[in-house]
Amino acid sequence: MSTRSETAPATAVRELTFGQAVREALAEEMRADPSVCIIGEDVAEAGTPFKVLAGLVDEFGPDRVIDSPISEAGIMSLAVGAAMTGLRPIVDIMFGDFLTLAMDQIVNQAAKVHYMSGGKLKVPLVVRTTLGATRRSAAQHSQSLHAWVSHVPGLKVALPSTPYDAKGLWKTAIRDDNPVVIFEDKLSYQLKGPVPDGEYTIPFGQADIKRPGTDLTIVATSSMVQVALRAAQLLEALEISAEVVDPRTTVPLDTRTLVDSAKKTSRVIVVDEGYQRYGVTAELAAVIGEGAFHYLDAPVRRVGALDVPVPFSPVLEDLTVPTSERVVETAKVLCGRV
């Protein structure tokens, strides 16, 4: 259910997994532009632990799909310099939790070079990383830290939730002249969905209505889109019609689509897998509150991750992430069904 000015897809449509869609986008862009290269830990022969990049080194060689030492700060800063001087590097940060190791390079260098130089230097860099819990990987391999980079001017942040979006957003990211951070949900790699055969891109800053509805808006990002869609299904049984809106990029943010949906339904839940406190849910709720205040029947409700380090024990971990059931309960309260 794509919206507005996405470039026209060609005819044939196939089913691809999320991981295949990412790989296809990278391969197409690397074929089209020799300045694109990938640097990261175990990106070449191993194709990353999730195997998303498998096979790329066979086509593009080890000079363009480059295995690096375990040096997140080093490869990120090297990539910033490479981007400033004519390459379009993609840095693979295996787990979103490891962004912390490269934070100076992302926040103080990549994000600021264009502005600090008065617009003379550019950093066409893509940071590829992951988010999402419930893989029983504990506190340092499970966080969703996209709010951190969304906070910093100069960065763009994309959160694809479907194979179609993944391919289109990835191609846009690689062609963008700014540093872009793309978060992929680790549990989405096997998610299947239609992907057109031909060339298309998805512009940043265009939310997508994943499911239309009239009684309630559920704004959901990345991993939470599937949670929201399942909640919407459950709500249908209760005769509550939920609209699911996916911003697809937090920066730039399609404020208009979010506010328009809120105005239409007058009730909004924002669902995001980042920590709820000071998180993406807070910003989206504020944007909707400011833009649609007089249309709302109730305050915007937030459903984020519990503000605790992600625990290992499955019994505990499952309590920390937003679920369809929690969204349904929140929706029932908003719609006066309890």
Binding site: S71, M76, S77, L78, G81, A82, M116, S117, G119
Partner: protein, 332 residues
């Protein structure tokens, strides 16, 4: 007259023209920084500045050995590097004053001057923040086969930052044409390096298999010769080098650091200024070699002083950026 100069084996003999040119460049930096100090103390300049006075031979000796399209990255103490790579005095002053005609339209200031037309990828206010950028520029040069090299200037304080070791490992591993120029001016801000730096400095790059040289950073000819060797090797595909340049910051960590007795003695400062001033070292050598008489040097000084003064006047009267520029250049 060149014939009278001793010929180093690697073709780095200094001619009269080169000698006077390097002197002019060092003097330009010296006078520029003195003016900056004056602007700051008379409250005409916002913010603060970290002056390069005393270290001029490092920037000038290194940049003398570079091509115009070679890259450099710089530090918070970066005015000397920018000027040595060919930046114009008026646009430098304009940037320091926050004017629209500055190198970064007033958005960068003293610690962020970038001049990409001369390969200057920018000064950096994070200690060791540009180590990766220089290494990345070298990565690009190798990938695109441009035969450019990248020079990364940093102070000995940067030896405390882990990212430096990560990128030196990458540079050696991938044979990148980058030259790490460590300016040991003895003080990490207000702390002597001996209190912060374990072991031998040069043992660190050596551990990565990087070629190193110990260089007298007050002798511009020595810096030039060492850089020349490192650049030739890097361009020739032999990978990175690390030059440890021994130097001294004649003034404080920044313009406001006036009372320094608690971390170093006046005697020490006097000793360096009296015997190890890079301008005097070069002028004395040129006189001894009969390459340039004191009158020639005085003539250079007079010309450069006039140029710096008029550059400052241009900058002082230049307009500030328009308010609408505040949210320009956030995104390309």
């Amino acid at each position: 007259m060149t014939a009278s100069a001793p010929q180093p084996p690697d073709g780095t003999a200094i001619s009269r023209e080169q000698g006077l040119q390097m002197y002019a460049q060092m003097y330009r930096i010296r006078i520029f920084e003195e003016q900056v100090n004056e602007l700051y103390t008379s409250a005409k300049m916002p913010g603060l500045a970290h002056l390069y006075i005393g270290q001029e031979a490092v920037a000038v000796g290194v940049c003398q050995a570079l091509r115009a399209d070679d890259y450099i990255t710089s530090t918070h103490r970066g005015h000397g590097h920018c000027l040595a790579k060919g930046a114009a005095v008026d646009r430098m002053f304009a940037e320091l004053l926050g004017k629209a005609s500055g190198y970064c339209r007033g958005k960068g200031g003293s610690m962020h001057i970038a001049d990409q037309e001369r390969g200057n990828l920018g000064a950096n206010a994070i200690v060791a923040g540009s180590a990766g950028i220089a290494t990345g520029a070298a990565f690009t040069a190798k990938r695109l086969g441009t035969a450019r090299v990248a020079v990364c200037f940093f102070g000995e304080g940067a030896l405390g930052q882990g990212v430096l070791y990560e990128v030196m490992n990458l540079a050696s591993l991938w044979t990148l044409p980058v030259i790490y120029v460590c300016e040991n001016n003895l003080y990490n801000e207000y702390t002597h390096y001996a209190e912060t730096t374990a072991g031998e400095m040069l043992a660190r790059p050596k551990a990565f298999g990087i070629r190193t040289e110990d260089v007298d950073g007050q002798d511009v000819r020595a810096v030039y010769a060492a850089t020349h060797r490192a650049v030739a090797a890097a361009r020739g595909g032999q990978g990175p080098a690390f030059l440890l340049c021994h130097t001294y910051r004649f003034l404080g960590h920044h313009v406001g650091d006036v009372n320094r007795a608690y971390y170093r003695s006046k005697d020490e400062e006097q000793r360096w200024k009296a015997t190890r001033d890079p301008l005097q070292v070069l002028a004395t050598w040129m006189a001894a070699q009969r390459l340039a008489a004191p009158a020639d040097v005085a003539q250079v000084e007079s010309r450069v002083r006039g140029e710096v003064t008029s550059g400052l006047e241009v900058a002082l009267t230049a307009p500030y950026p328009d308010p609408h520029e505040v949210d320009q250049h956030v995104y390309a």
